[in-house]
């Protein structure tokens, strides 16, 4: 299995532990990752400003990856969603494709549209498969109780991403269960984390996260498992602000799914960057 790795903006800047643990886990499955030199923002953050600019930014990344002749892998659901949507749009809208390729021609690039955009979760679930994942588990985490946080962009819009049913998602559930943990359900499983509006209305963004944290606390989970670097950053960094604002105590560790899987594969906390997490993860290690 060979992929070209698209880092995006948030992961290398704020969540290097996600990439570190992904690389360690990928090694276990013999996944080979190629670097994508000179890539730009996927284009997602340009969407509200100008659709064509957002499309061009994505198309440049796709054309760079196509030069490597293998599928694109990313850890960020927003990148995954945006690149997937742009690929579909450029495949269906020939006029837009012409405009885009005219612009790309100036930098000697061309969008061909043959590669597939994959989130690491999809690679694990489809390309690797649950059976093979279970075979790598050497330390089932039976004493740990966790809940999933899916995030919005890994699931929706479901007609374009075609990954899972957003009304009753199960893909992350099954990946989490494979590590042997005690899996818990909670009331606000489908709620957004609030991160996307942190720059527009901070109070509201924190209010939404608080609702999630309360719901997770009610079921007495030891940790929240995320697959999105942006959701992770929001929970892990701004949880302290929520605690201050509302004079409440949560201190719920937030783990990247790859960190959870790595622990179950017998990898050390250092190898998985567990000490990079902002909400201390010592509690987790004590339970294990």
């Amino acid at each position: 299995m060979k992929y070209v790795y698209f880092p995006g903006c948030v992961t290398p800047q704020k969540e290097n532990a996600y990439e570190l643990s992904m690389r360690k886990v990928a090694e276990k499955f013999g996944i080979q990752l190629l670097d994508l030199e000179g890539a730009n923002c996927c284009g997602f953050f340009m969407e509200p400003i100008d659709h064509l600019s957002a499309t061009l930014l994505a198309a440049r990344n796709l054309s760079l990856a196509e030069e490597k002749k293998c599928d694109l892998l990313t850890l960020c659901p927003a990148c995954f969603g945006h690149l997937t949507k742009v690929k579909k749009e450029l495949t269906e809208d020939q006029e837009l494709r012409k405009t885009v390729n005219e612009a790309l021609a100036e930098i000697n690039k061309k969008f061909e549209g043959f590669l597939e955009v994959k989130h690491f979760i999809k690679v694990l679930l489809v390309d690797v498969g649950i059976t093979k994942i279970k075979r790598t588990i050497t330390k089932p985490l039976t004493r740990l109780k966790v809940v999933p946080h899916y995030g919005c962009h890994i699931l929706k819009p479901s007609d374009e991403l075609k990954l899972d049913n957003p009304e009753n998602p199960t893909l992350l559930d099954s990946l989490i269960k494979a590590t042997g943990v005690t899996f818990l359900d909670y009331m606000e499983k489908r709620l957004c984390c609030g991160a996307p509006i942190i720059g527009v209305n901070e109070k509201l963004s924190l209010r939404i996260m608080r609702e999630k944290l309360r719901s997770v606390q009610k079921v007495k989970a030891d940790a929240i498992i995320t697959v999105c670097p942006f959701c992770h950053l929001h929970f892990d960094l701004n949880q302290f602000t929520v605690q201050e604002e509302y004079s409440e105590e949560y201190n719920i560790p937030i783990l990247h799914y790859t960190q959870l899987l790595g622990l179950a594969q017998g990898l050390s906390p250092e190898e998985l960057g567990l000490y990079e997490n902002r909400v201390p993860t010592d509690v987790i290690l004590e339970i294990l």
Binding site: P7, C9, V10, P12, Q13, N16, A17, E19, L20, R23, D35, L36, E37, G38, A39, N40, C41, F45, M46, E47, P48, I49, D50, H51, L52, S53, L56, L57, R60, E89, L96, T99, E102, A103, L104, E106, I107, K109, C152, H153, K156, P157, S158, P166, E167, L191, C192, G194, P196, I197, G199, V200, N201, L204, R207, I208, E211, G273, E276
Partner: protein
């Protein structure tokens, strides 16, 4: 403060504000805006919206209604159009197949053309237009990555990003001064 999208204000504006009957066609012509004409105002979008759940001033149904009614200035200058978290819950559940998330994106794109932009979005877009990413490539990131045993992030080829963006209106859009809030 720009006028906000509240039912009572929309009703009042129907008598006083100039209505632009072409506004809905303008939105429908934008990429992703086509499905606005299927809306039959059931309100499922509002019922399902996580932003609405915690902020009663945000009503996606009303944004669509006001757009269909032609209340162009009120919609484009409203600060609520920047509150959408793009979670796609409304798009998923709309019984008419109205792609609200894309429509709100189309409305934002039109608002920016009119000179209305939320400072947070302007900040991010400016960063991308200059650095190619929302964060500038900085040496300390690669030092940190090196300590963790990760390969360096290669710098964005900014000149290439600048070249392709010259084919768009983005530079001009970002230069437009934000409309003064009165």
């Amino acid at each position: 403060m720009p006028e906000n999208l509240k039912t009572i204000q929309v009703l009042k504006s129907l008598k006083t504000t100039k209505i632009d009957p072409n506004f809905k066609f303008e939105v429908a012509k934008m990429p992703g805006g086509e499905s606005i004409k299927y809306c039959f105002q059931c309100g499922k979008c509002t019922a399902t919206c996580p932003i609405r759940r915690f902020d009663k001033e945000y009503t996606p149904r009303l944004i669509i209604r006001a757009t269909l009614l032609g209340l162009k200035d009120i919609v484009l200058s409203s600060d609520v159009i920047w509150l959408c978290a793009t979670c796609y819950s409304c798009t998923e559940r709309c019984p008419q197949g109205v792609k609200l998330t894309n429509i709100i994106r189309a409305i934002r794109n039109l608002a920016i053309e009119k000179g209305y932009i939320h400072p947070f979005f302007k900040l991010q877009a400016n960063a991308i237009a200059s650095y190619g990413k929302i964060y500038e490539d900085e040496e300390f990131i690669n030092e940190l990555r090196n300590d963790l045993g990760l390969p360096p992030v290669t710098p964005v080829k900014r000149d290439e990003v600048h070249t392709i963006l010259q084919h768009t209106k983005v530079k001009k859009l970002l230069l437009t001064k934000e409309k003064e809030e009165n």
